[in-house]
């Protein structure tokens, strides 16, 4: 018998508001629909009433996890509109914070996924490890959520030599712990039973729908803006694009584990090669000239797009924000089909969604 099972928009199993309508035949999901927009805050409109420095403060609050990514992408779009050349040290610091943000975001998702799977001891272990990354972010920026590290023309805070040495030591410990976590995740029976063969998104479907970020890479699609269109000196760093070909929830777990190692590799290189010199171009409030620029940054969940339109005035003429979840959420119905209702929560969570971020 066919039933419609509504999930959300506000539901104990969801971290953020989204509405999914599952069409089921018994326990099996035969079709699904997703509806968004429950946390629209009018941020794009608010941007048109702020200057670029005020906008950085605002867009950092689009997301509570990848706040640096939003500020960075906006700044990069503005700087490119103005043909600014940011000091290299500033770019390196931006990349370091971006990779730390990716680390803590991936750890956060792994913890949530393990909690949904029912492996709460490993969830707590994961989040304990994440604390070390949050401590590093706090040491560098003074903050744990909105880091305030980006300004138009560079970074707002420098990294002292003492902090640099300390962070490198902390990374050794994080990597050691990550090795342990990897061994458990790849061999644990509970994780395998709940994730292998669940929520499959084939490579063809991922390309057809336009999935991006770790979600696409877990479907064996090697896309990564850091490699495809480098920025923030990513071309200086030696790192790999992690891909996995099982295309299921297990692949999404593995990808995030592998990417954590790559992020650690990038942070180490950036700290070792940190160029001397200025970190920004000074404290000026720029006016965005008439024109437009769209910039993409590989945020923890995938490609983040900011399109900034200027008219030479004090404020942004228009700002358009599209987050990775907007590209990955359309894959949810495809992944849900043929799976059990009991796995719906895990499958939806497997894209590492940020619905509030998407609703902006």
């Amino acid at each position: 018998m066919s039933y419609i099972v509504p999930i959300g928009p506000y539901h104990p199993a969801l971290e953020e508001p989204v509405h999914a309508r599952l069409i089921t035949n018994g326990e099996e999901i035969t079709d699904a629909e997703v509806f968004i927009g429950y946390n629209h805050r009018g941020i794009e409109k608010l941007c048109t009433e702020r200057n670029p420095i005020q906008t950085i403060v605002l867009v950092e609050r689009v997301c509570g996890i990848c706040s640096h990514s939003h500020a960075l992408t906006y700044a990069l779009a503005v700087e490119n509109t103005m043909n600014m050349t940011v000091p290299k040290r500033g770019q390196y610091i931006r990349a370091i914070v971006a990779e730390l943000e990716r680390l803590h975001s991936h750890y956060l998702w792994l913890g949530i996924a393990l909690h949904i799977i029912g492996h709460d001891s490993l969830f707590m272990h994961t989040w304990n490890d994440r604390e070390a990354i949050m401590d590093i972010l706090e040491e560098i920026s003074g903050n744990r959520v909105n880091y305030g590290m980006v300004t138009i023309g560079g970074a707002r805070r420098d990294i002292s030599d003492e902090t640099r040495v300390h962070v490198l030591k902390m990374l050794d410990k994080i990597e050691e712990s990550m090795n342990r976590l990897r061994d458990i995740l790849l061999t644990d029976k509970t994780v395998a039973l709940r994730t292998k063969g669940v929520g499959v998104l084939t490579t063809e479907d991922a390309i057809r729908i336009g999935a991006i970020g770790p979600h696409a890479r877990a479907s064996n699609v090697p896309v990564d803006v850091r490699k495809d269109a480098p920025y923030c000196c990513y071309e200086d760093f030696d790192f790999n694009i992690a891909v996995w070909d099982s295309c299921d929830v297990f692949a999404r777990v593995v990808i995030r584990v592998l990417e954590n190692f790559e992020s650690i590799k990038i942070i180490r290189q950036a700290l070792d090669m940190l160029p001397a010199g200025k970190i920004n171009l000074g404290n000026k409030i720029p006016r965005i000239p008439a024109g437009e620029y769209m910039f993409r940054h590989e945020a923890p969940r995938g490609q983040l797009c900011y399109k900034v339109v200027g008219d030479g005035g004090e404020y942004n003429h228009r700002v358009s924000i599209h987050v990775p979840t907007f590209r990955n959420a359309p894959t949810i119905p495809t992944m849900l089909k043929g799976n059990s209702v009991a796995d719906a929560g895990l499958i939806i969570a497997s894209i590492d969604p940020c619905f509030s971020c998407m609703d902006r």
Partner: protein, 138 residues
């Protein structure tokens, strides 16, 4: 002197009749549709950009002053359908052939081209809350 790489952005103006041929050409070349962006100018004219990923950056094909456009969901599937539906719900811009029988982004009660969401300024809200419209809110 360029010290590092950055992303290129090339804006190209096209007519509404060129939207589908460009999308077909880009799809055949294997280009990814990064996003469809739209906004209204202050005089109400629509500005819609189709942003395609190219090596090292973005090629943006922009249509200006047209509020009824052909859909490219037949070419880019859901990658185009979600942006088109979102734009249709937020702004008085229509993509022909897109199913609008169900909402994606806006509440059901605000379907059928209700226009762009307008943010009521905080001072107006404060005035209304305190019943001091036209007076000092401090």
């Amino acid at each position: 002197m360029q010290l590092y790489q950055t992303q290129s952005y090339q804006k190209l103006s096209i007519t509404k009749d060129e939207i589908v041929p460009v999308a077909q050409k880009k799809r055949a070349e294997g280009a990814v549709l990064a996003m469809i962006h739209a906004y209204l100018e202050d005089d109400g004219r629509a500005n819609v950009s189709y942003e395609y990923e190219v090596p090292g950056g973005i090629e943006s094909y922009t249509v200006e002053g047209e509020s009824v456009l052909p859909s490219i969901t037949g070419i880019y599937d859901l990658g185009a359908e979600w942006p088109e539906r979102e734009i249709m719900e937020l702004m008085p811009i229509t993509f022909e052939g897109v199913d609008t029988s169900k909402r994606l982004f806006m509440p059901d009660s605000m379907l059928s081209g209700q226009g762009q969401i307008l943010v009521t300024p905080m001072d107006e809200l404060t005035k209304k809350a305190h019943g001091t419209e036209g007076g000092d809110t401090k």
